[in-house]
Amino acid sequence: MIYLALFWQFFKIGLFSIGGGLATLPFLYKLAETHPHWITASQIGDMVAISESTPGPIGINMATYAGFQSAGYLGGVIATLGEVAPSVIIIIIIARFLANFDKNPTVKDAFWALRPSVVGLIAFAGLKLLGIVVYGQGVFNTQAALVFAILTVAVLTFKRVHPLIWISIGAILGMVFNVGG
């Protein structure tokens, strides 16, 4: 029963990804490792691109996309519901019983270690993705590495440019100069 398995996998992602945005990325990467017939690691890059270029929370967009890739239309809906289910349960419990949850000293202690660790997890996923980009075909792709370096400097220099613009630039460079191939 793929829908049940899909719901469970995304329930776990929803439960353990803390910090929003790209925090689900390392879990999706792990999912591509354990369930390669659902999604592949290189598809994750496409998911990030599409999720950043469309409205809606990135984590939800990625869940819908990954679910769709795994099991079609219903898969997208099931994965999304699986990912939000832990939030709904946990937030209702907190709203009911823990009024000052975010000011609780134990929660603050946990977050002192959680925050840098989550950044580390996103770095892990980013490095894996970069590995596919520059070393995907088993040989070092100098051209892709160079374009990555230039784009990174550009993104960090022009901070206010919308991600959609950078993604479009990547698409044009790919189509015209085949930089990723």
Partner: protein, 182 residues
């Protein structure tokens, strides 16, 4: 307490559909719909709810929607607000993904996505640096960052294990510090 469920659904449908990227990007829309239009919360309450959304598991935007929905109409309100928040994503992404499936074998599309993946890597670097600026601030947090990368990348540890270890370590260190100051 007379908030209609349909109002909750539509308010969060708009917030989800008009926010690019979640996180802080949703605050202006939250302010317009939740504070100005419906008066479901004050700015201060919204910021508190947002803070809770950040330090609970799951997507921040969803956590915020759930909390505001719950405060208005209980469990059913929480569910309705959440469904409103995710509806635009599901519709837009499903439409786009089903379109892409049809064209994914075209050489030009494959080339475009190969290029896009490079741009995505650059964007992830930016996200990591933005996050690191706030959370990797001294030697202990730098060590935590590096250990997290090493455990996953080097030792193949699952991200779930890293999250659980970090929570345990953070609480443990907190207790230890408390004892030291007493």
């Amino acid at each position: 307490m007379n908030t209609r469920l349909i109002d909750l659904y539509i308010a969060f449908l708009k917030i989800g559909g008009l926010t690019f990227g979640g996180g802080y990007a949703m605050l202006p829309m939250l302010q317009r719909e939740v504070i100005d239009k419906h008066g479901w919360a004050t700015l201060e309450e919204v910021l508190d709810i947002y803070a809770i959304g950040q330090c609970t598991p799951g997507i921040i935007a969803v956590n915020t929607a759930t909390m505001i929905g719950y405060r208005q109409r209980g469990v059913i309100g929480a569910i309705v607000a959440t469904l409103g928040e995710v509806t635009p994503s599901v519709v837009i992404i499903t439409a786009l993904a089903s379109l892409l499936v049809r064209v994914q074998d075209l050489v030009l599309v494959q080339r475009a996505f190969a290029g896009i993946r490079i741009a995505v890597c650059a964007l992830i670097v930016q996200s990591i640096l933005t996050l690191a600026k706030k959370s990797v601030v001294d030697i202990p947090t730098t060590l935590l960052f590096l250990v997290s990368v090493a455990l996953t990348l080097g030792f193949g540890l699952s991200p779930i294990a890293v999250i659980i270890l970090a929570i345990g370590l953070g609480i443990g260190v907190g207790r230890f510090r408390e004892r030291g100051t007493r």
